[in-house]
């Protein structure tokens, strides 16, 4: 330990930052957690490097770009992705196909760092006040929109206002319209409705609808309708059925990209994508599944980017009415899940077993204090009998035709039979499922009160659980299809939001995990990995687990 160096670092930070430095210095958090939390609260890269060096006695380097940087200059990369489901509207988009395209031309206040965490994007740095309810973002200077105009805090304010109006799932209730102070064009000061330690995540690539768009952008404007971002790639053509092409933005603030351009081709079939990669017709795949993607997983010429993600399925059960209102019935159904078999059958092992809450076991704030629920048909039968169903019960399990979900529904149906659940499957198209079963628009108050009794819904990756907790479980949450309402949970969630450091968050998460595992408003059987990759003829590609592939540093080998 280099005490002198550590002391210098200690003296240059405030009390909250000091707490993080001390946690790392005393070995209470890992190097990864230190970097992650440091980035979130706005510690500078040189300071983090100094702390790492002081604690390890090594000449550590600031977290920076990875990759060899020895690739060729020029060329156009061919990327395969899923066909966008709707228009390229940055505010309203809901699918990974659109997320990936938008992230080429538009940028976020916080982007994806080399370590998989957030890193400075359009904001060079950020800090918060002591109560974590005012966040100040120092905007990068010299950034220009593709049409040549300057990027300023006015653009940030207009974007945030549009997001609030649209009811963005991450920002709803966190900020209000007019919350961005734009008195300095190079600084965006955002006042929240309450403390939030994770706010930088909510304006980062991990809240995919929050790229900063020009002040003149109107809600409903699409990327192809007005291709005017700040990012490294300019959209040159877009055909919703076939592909999008981008060329290098020569005026990008990050310098010249090694590649000249990219051609993003749309696919509706995983098998075709795999064949295209095997036939060298594409260079990279934004996302593929383990089942059906064996040809890629076993291909020595293909580099798999395997990311542990919080992507999961929730088997919601109505807590307010019907057969599942008694929590013993919900616990019984959760006891019938053969989680290990699901992980193997549906993901060839590329998933983690979950414990009926939404904190993934690899998350830094995960608390391992709640025992893992395992399959136990006998206990499930007993719980059903205790709840007044000695002869079992009949119910309809609703599910959407999406990825592995119909197969999951079958596994649940088969696994629950022995315990006395007679489940009838109703597999529906996405429109019908979301609009009629999961969260029907009517009745609107409380949201989702028209939801079916039992169903399976999909949730994408989020690095922090704020959106899941706020939308699916908080009383009157916008996606609360189980109509769960618990004052104990709401209080624990508030504590989590108001946590001042990583240790507090972990403690709060332990409580949230316990409550959700006990009440089981939803069953959560697994978190599955996000799989992406590229041929070994290209290098320095990074991906988020939300369909965004970042290739500004990529090059052909």
């Amino acid at each position: 330990m280099d005490w002198k160096r550590l002391d210098r670092a200690r003296r240059s930070v405030g009390p909250h930052e000091l707490e993080l430095v001390e946690s790392f210095a005393q070995g209470r958090i890992s190097r990864r957690d230190f970097l992650r939390r440091g980035t979130v609260i706005g510690l500078s890269a040189p300071l983090m490097a100094a702390v790492l060096a002081a604690c390890s006695n090594e000449e550590s380097q600031a977290p920076g770009p990875s990759g060899s940087g020895t690739g060729q200059q020029g060329g156009t990369i061919k990327i395969a992705t899923q066909t966008p489901a709707a228009t390229l509207d940055p505010i309203a988009m809901q699918d990974l196909g659109a997320y990936g395209l938008l992230a080429q031309s538009f940028e976020f206040l916080a982007t994806l760092g080399d370590n998989g965490e957030i890193a400075p994007g359009l904001a060079e740095s950020w800090t918060s006040n002591d109560t974590r309810d005012v966040w100040t973002f120092q905007l990068r200077q010299g950034v220009k929109w593709h049409d040549g105009t300057d990027f300023t805090s006015e653009d940030v304010a207009a974007t945030m206002d549009r997001l609030v109006e649209a009811g963005n799932s991450g920002l709803k209730g966190v900020i209000e319209k007019g919350s961005v102070d734009t008195s300095d064009p190079n600084v965006a000061v955002i006042t929240l409705t309450g403390p939030n330690l994770n706010f930088p995540y909510l304006v980062s690539v991990f809240n995919a609808q929050t790229p900063i768009t020009p002040v003149a952008y109107e809600t409903g404007t699409t990327l192809d309708g007005s291709p005017n971002g700040t990012g490294p790639w300019k959209l040159t053509s877009y055909d919703a059925a076939t592909k999008a092409t981008f060329e290098r933005n020569p005026d990008w603030w990050g310098g010249q990209t090694p590649l000249d351009g990219q051609e993003v081709q749309f696919f509706d079939d995983l098998g075709t994508m795999v064949t295209a990669m095997q036939g060298n017709s594409i260079d990279a795949i934004v996302q593929f599944q383990a089942i059906g993607g064996e040809g890629l997983l076993n291909n020595p010429d293909f580099v798999v980017l395997d990311i542990q993600a919080a992507t999961h399925r929730q088997i919601w059960m109505r807590c307010d009415t019907g057969q599942f209102a008694d929590k013993r019935v919900r616990q019984a159904l959760a006891l019938t899940f053969d989680r290990d078999a699901m992980v193997q059958t549906l993901f060839a092992g590329k998933a983690e077993v979950a414990n009926d809450h939404i904190i993934p076991p690899f998350a830094p704030f995960f608390s391992d204090t709640v025992p893992q629920r395992t399959k136990d048909d006998e206990a499930a039968r007993q719980l059903l009998a205790d709840a007044g169903f000695p002869n079992g019960l009949k119910a309809v399990l609703h599910a959407a035709k999406l990825q592995e979900i119909p197969d999951l529904a079958q596994l649940i149906q088969a696994g629950a039979k022995a315990a006395g659940f007679d489940l009838e499957l109703q597999i529906e198209g996405l429109d019908t499922f979301y609009g009629a079963q999961w969260c029907p628009a009517e009745p609107a108050d409380p949201p989702c009160s028209g939801a079916a009794e039992l169903g399976i819904v999909d949730y994408g990756h989020r690095p922090t659980p704020d959106v899941f907790l706020n939308s699916a479980f908080a009383t009157n949450g916008v996606w609360n299809s189980s109509q769960y309402s618990s004052s104990e949970f709401d209080a624990a969630f508030k504590t989590f939001q108001e946590s001042q450091d990583a240790e507090d968050q972990k403690t709060a998460c332990g409580e949230l995990e316990r409550i959700l595992n006990e009440d089981v408003p939803v069953g959560v059987p697994y978190f599955y990995h996000y799989l992406s990759g590229h041929s070994n003829g290209v290098q320095d590609i990074r991906v988020s687990a939300l369909g965004q592939m970042f290739i500004e540093k990529a090059s052909f080998v």
């Binding site: 055909d239 919703a240 592909k243 081709q265 509706d268």
Partner: protein, 318 residues
């Protein structure tokens, strides 16, 4: 010929009117809430109602039907629900892609199949005849998406001779586009070769055995003239009729092949529109395919009428 043409065009217009009516009935039988489709499942009901009002979804059926007929004439179906763009701007690029594939497939299939059919007819019951018939029958019985996958794996992945995707880069010239389309086109050749060759063979056998052919030979015409002027002109009429009707299918029915080669043509677009309940696109797509069918059968009928003047008299005395 002019009267025949006028009669056929008039008949096509009546068919188009019936088709438009049928499309209207089908779309109105399906559950439809365009406002909800556009605004999404979470939009407030007021927004949905306003959208439905703006789109005319609440108008009386007769008014909606009149609008569809007008749209059919102008081919202006408004914006696609899914793409948020004019239907034409989505439909026509897909039509162009399908047309390229169909054109190449026909360019390869028709001459080879006709030649094989004539050879088989002239060498009836020889090894060549049996080979053409047997190979043709076998290849036609394999669906195009199966032969497509096989060709893709063998010629694309294993040997690396041809691109495995049918869509060429944006700046590709004709040569590159041809190369990209060759694999799916070959899959279609495999299916249609046997079919067209057998029909040609049957027609050619009939023509070769006909009195007019015997007379032509006996009056001393050389083989080439007999074949081109007398045999083929009569033998190819069923072939022309079959190819004419198959073109419509080729434009809209190759969904499996389009999926395998990531080549979104008209078929995939219409299926997608049906799945997405994108009614403007669905209506326009179905009508466009109907128009293609009509144009192709009309052209086939005109070609047959040119080859055989008696065909023009059909119905003349009815």
């Amino acid at each position: 010929m002019t009267r025949y043409l006028a009669r056929r065009v008039a008949l096509s217009l009546v068919t188009l009117f019936l088709l438009a009516t049928l499309v209207f009935v089908i779309v109105n039988v399906l559950p439809s809430d365009p406002g909800r489709r556009i605004a999404g499942p979470f939009a407030p009901q007021e927004t949905v109602d306003a959208l439905n009002e703006r789109l005319g979804a609440n108008d009386p059926l007769l008014q909606q039907y009149g609008r569809l007929l007008k749209n059919t004439v102008t081919f202006d179906f408004g914006d696609s629900f899914k793409y948020g763009k004019p239907v034409k701007s989505v439909l026509f690029p897909a039509l162009a892609r399908s047309a390229k594939l169909v054109f190449l497939a026909l360019l390869l299939t028709v001459p080879i199949s006709i030649l094989a059919g004539i050879v088989a007819a002239r060498r009836r019951n020889t090894l060549a005849d049996r080979l053409i018939v047997t190979v043709g029958l076998a290849s036609s019985s394999i669906p195009e998406f199966v032969s497509g996958v096989t060709l893709q794996f063998l010629l694309g992945v294993q040997l690396g001779w041809l691109p495995v995707l049918a869509l060429a880069p944006s700046d590709a010239g004709i040569g590159t586009q041809f190369k990209h389309l060759l694999l799916p086109a070959l899959a279609l050749v495999a299916v249609y070769f046997g079919y067209i060759a057998r029909i040609t063979r049957a027609g050619a056998i009939q023509a070769l055995d006909a009195d007019y052919t015997r007379t032509a030979v006996m009056k001393g015409l050389d083989n080439r003239r007999v074949l081109t002027r007398h045999v083929m002109r009569n033998a190819l009429q069923p072939t022309v009729a079959v190819v004419g009707t198959q073109i419509g299918y080729l434009f809209s029915g190759l969904i499996g092949l389009e999926l395998i080669f990531a080549y979104p043509g008209l078929g995939s677009l219409i299926v997608g529109a049906a799945g997405d309940k994108d009614y403007p696109l669905l209506e326009a797509g179905v009508l466009l395919v109907g128009i293609i069918y009509m144009i192709c059968t009309l052209l086939a009928d005109l070609l047959i009428a040119w080859m055989n003047p008696r065909a023009r008299l059909v119905g003349e005395f009815a």
